[in-house]
């Protein structure tokens, strides 16, 4: 056997790497699973509690409709941001990211005003669990939005530092995944409350 043949054989003996994905993206997905379980638990608790009677009919604040619209639009701007990053169009990328960030803040403010609306209609955090649940759902979701906004700010910084471009899309893609998830999560919670209040 010549040296070359020997080397070839060694190479062929080495089995291939098993399937693998980007571990960071994968970790993000697993985080999303655990957040989903948290809200699944809370909404199931809501159903179990509601089935026991002694329940208060809480009208959803109209502002929640507006905030839902805002967060839907912010998903669109997030999507456009990823597209501009893919095309290396940095000025547009900056615009879309900052717009998403502003819309995220707008969402938080609208949610907060929605709480005031609840208070004026005499639904308080303390009282019948029907009302408390609404505050818990929106408050806990709001906390996750805060983390999403921090994520967006980091991406904005990375864009300024020229670390996001068509060859390096991971971070902005992960941010988009998380943001779309938060959007979907709110729509789920809102629809759930509309159907089961």
């Amino acid at each position: 056997m010549t040296g070359q043949e020997q080397l070839l054989m060694q190479n062929y003996q080495a089995p291939r790497r098993p399937l693998s994905m980007n571990p960071r993206k994968f970790i993000l997905w697993l985080f999303i699973v655990s957040i989903s379980m948290l809200f699944a638990a809370l909404t199931s608790a809501y159903m179990v509690r509601k089935s026991e009677g002694n329940w208060l009919n809480v009208e959803m604040p109209t502002l929640f409709w507006i905030s839902s619209a805002i967060i839907l639009i912010s998903s669109l701007t997030m999507h456009l941001a990823v597209r501009s990053a893919g095309k290396d169009d940095f000025s547009k990328l900056k615009t879309w990211i900052s717009l998403t960030l502003v819309l995220g803040l707008g969402f938080l403010i609208t949610q907060y005003m929605g709480w005031s609306e609840l208070v004026t209609s005499n639904v308080y955090f303390v009282g019948n669990p029907a009302g408390s649940f609404v505050y818990v759902f929106s408050g806990l979701h709001g906390l996750h939005i805060v983390s999403g906004i921090v994520f967006l700010a980091i991406i904005f910084y990375l864009v300024l530092a020229q670390k996001v471009h068509s060859k390096n899309m991971n971070s902005v893609q992960m941010c988009a995944t998380f943001w779309h998830f938060l959007d979907g999560l709110w729509l789920y919670l809102f629809t759930f409350l509309l159907l089961n209040h």
Partner: protein, 622 residues
């Protein structure tokens, strides 16, 4: 060709550089380490310290149960005013029971067991340099550490630690007026558990991501050791169930600190109504047991995984039913999410619902029995090597069966009316979960001590430890079945004032003495552990003649685990005593093409692939 070798050299150099780079100072090596092996040691040692506290507490309340007339003033230096005139304060008894349960279930058997061995073995047995995210892994340990600090502080509060049982049912846990432990003690319990949940999730996310994405060449799912399968499935269960405990804890925090009424309703204290209206204490039980039942499998599956490895290696036989083992773990994982209400049969739930949960509960016995059967058939006619680790693994099988049988009885909703909240339940879960998972953990410690610390544990002390524990555990928990059947309730401070239980004084005394013996056995282990860590016999490279790839590393592997390239894997880990083979084991790193004498006809295809050109570029595995 020239270029090829050069590249290889450059690569090897690169790798070498890679782990050199991580060797830092004392702080980064021993404290804020990102090396999975160091994190494993941190989890293990923290867990064992907790075990000492948790075990010590159990001895204290066993003294109360076994010797109610005893003068306990000698305990005053430790417990201060919890001992009043030589008698134990009843609220302290409840606190001790609660902390014992919390510590053992979460801090020892979840963090100490799964945290230690998932961290140690996942990268080492799948052939990875570290976890997918070493940083999150470090955070996971430090979240656990912080959680430990809070729980530890709560032990020293004036009003005592949480006292409402490890299941913290409201209203007892929700109202500070209910008992003194429900004040600051309960608050600290909740903070500690929130941190603990963060730790478990960070760890679990890492384990899953590592197992899926970081396996070495050739390490297909079908060639993973059962330990890794067990840790992997456990992490998935944890990821799905711990957020639910977090939800329950969060709502309880709101009830306690903000005045909401999720779990509280229509409560009168001293004739006066509290402002809480419209809550449901049963809601808490549903949320708690939705975690609580999967949690018991989070505890036992890693132990079973460790036992699989130890038993196959020391029986010198392939594990019986490799695929059945994986299948039953998956079945257990799935079923564990739909049986939680068997803890709530007597809460006044709809009897029809009770029958549904009864059916599902009894079905779980099938995959559990498959596993027990497979361990026994693996041992059957093996050339068994009775190392201390092996003894503990066999002990696990015995305890798992003894405790599982009573599970089938408890799972009948009608029988549970008599047995619920008696010592029968205590006997059941201590055998099937407590003792058996502890034995699995000990099997792991004795077996992997050489990889953890590069040294061997003393065998003679190991045997003494095993027999004292094994006999002790049976002497403690077996008699509890009789207590339970006769209606003896759990969590009672004193039973001597009930006529019906006067006859059980001697039995309780006996149990307490057995418990003390078993506890002394653990001190022997503690000595062996810390002594051997520094002074033990240096370990040979592969002390148990095992197939898995962690034994191809150095005695003291550096950060990065392997010098040079990570070995590739060519076969499953259970080629023990393969007919025709020269030795009674063939490591996973040995290609089939090098063992023509022992290959099976169906393996010829892979041999050809190893030798020949990759015909259509297909992967050998998956």
């Amino acid at each position: 060709m020239e270029a090829n070798t050069e590249q290889a050299v450059a690569h090897a150099h690169d790798v070498h550089h890679d782990h050199e780079h991580h060797e830092g100072n004392f702080i980064t090596t021993y404290v804020f380490s990102q090396d999975h092996k160091m994190i494993a040691r941190q989890f293990l040692i923290t867990g064992l310290l907790w075990a000492l506290i948790g075990g010590g507490l159990s001895i204290v309340f066993r003294l109360q149960l076994g010797f109610p007339e005893m003068d306990m003033s000698f305990l005053e230096p430790f417990f201060g005013k919890w001992i009043v005139d030589g008698k134990m304060d009843p609220e302290f008894y409840l606190a001790a029971v609660t902390m014992h349960g919390t510590i053992m279930v979460f801090f020892l058997l979840t963090a100490g067991l799964s945290g230690t061995f998932s961290n140690l073995l996942i990268p080492l047995q799948i052939g990875a340099r570290d976890m997918a995210s070493p940083f999150l892994n470090m955070l996971s340990y430090w979240a656990f550490f912080l959680s430990s600090v809070f729980m530890f502080i709560s032990l020293f509060l004036e009003t005592g630690p949480a006292s409402g049982g490890w299941v913290i049912y409201p209203p007892l846990s929700a109202l500070p007026q209910a008992m003194s432990g429900s004040g600051l003690g309960m608050t600290l319990w909740l903070i500690a558990m929130a941190l603990f949940i963060a730790s478990v999730l960070l760890g679990g996310i890492n384990y899953i991501s590592t197992v899926i994405n970081m396996r070495t060449r050739g390490m297909s799912f079908g060639r993973m050791p059962l330990t890794i399968w067990a840790f992997f499935i456990t992490a998935i269960i944890a990821l799905l169930s711990f957020p639910v405990l977090f939800a329950a804890a969060l709502l309880l925090i709101f009830d306690r600190s903000f005045g909401t009424s999720f779990f509280l309703s229509d409560i009168y204290i001293g004739g006066e109504a509290l402002q809480h209206v419209g809550g449901s204490p049963l809601l808490f039980q549903h949320l708690f047991w939705f975690l609580g039942h999967p949690e018991v499998y989070i505890i036992i599956l890693p132990a079973l995984g460790l036992a699989s490895e130890v038993i196959a290696t020391n029986s010198r036989k392939p594990i019986f039913g490799y695929k059945a083992m994986i299948g039953s773990m998956l079945a257990i994982a799935l079923l564990s999410f739909i049986v939680w209400a068997h803890h709530m049969f007597v809460t006044g739930m709809n009897p029809f619902l009770g029958s549904v949960f009864m059916l599902l509960t009894l079905i779980i016995a099938i995959p559990s029995a498959v596993k027990a059967f497979n361990y026994i058939t693996t041992l059957w006619k093996g050339n068994i090597v009775f190392t201390p680790g092996m003894l503990f693994a066999i002990g696990l099988v015995s305890l798992f069966i003894s405790g599982g049988v009573t599970g089938i009885i408890l799972g009948n909703s009608a029988l549970d009316i008599q047995l619920h909240d008696t010592y029968y339940v205590v006997a059941h879960f201590h055998l099937v979960m407590g003792a058996s998972a502890f034995f699995g953990m000990m099997a792991g410690v004795y077996h992997w001590f050489p990889k953890l610390f590069g040294r061997m544990l003393d065998e003679r002390l190991g045997y003494i430890h095993f027999w004292m524990t094994f006999i002790g555990v049976y002497l403690v928990f077996f008699p509890m079945h009789y207590l339970g059947i006769s209606g003896f309730p759990r969590r009672y401070y004193s039973f001597t004032n009930f006529d019906a239980f006067q006859g059980y004084v001697e039995l309780n005394e006996f149990i307490s003495l057995a418990a003390i013996m078993a506890f002394i056995g653990q001190l022997i282990f503690g000595f062996n552990f810390f002594y051997s860590m520094f002074r033990g016999r240096l370990a040979p490279k592969n002390p148990w003649r095992s197939n898995t790839i962690e034994w191809t590393t150095e005695r003291f592997p550096g950060h990065g685990n392997w010098k040079g390239e990570i070995p590739a894997v060519y076969r499953w880990p259970y080629d023990y005593s393969k007919p025709g083979a020269a030795e009674d084991f063939i490591p996973q790193t040995t290609p089939l093409s090098e063992t023509p004498e022992s290959n099976l006809p169906e393996e010829q295809e892979q041999v050809d692939r190893e030798k020949g050109a990759p015909a259509d570029g297909e992967a050998i595995n998956l």
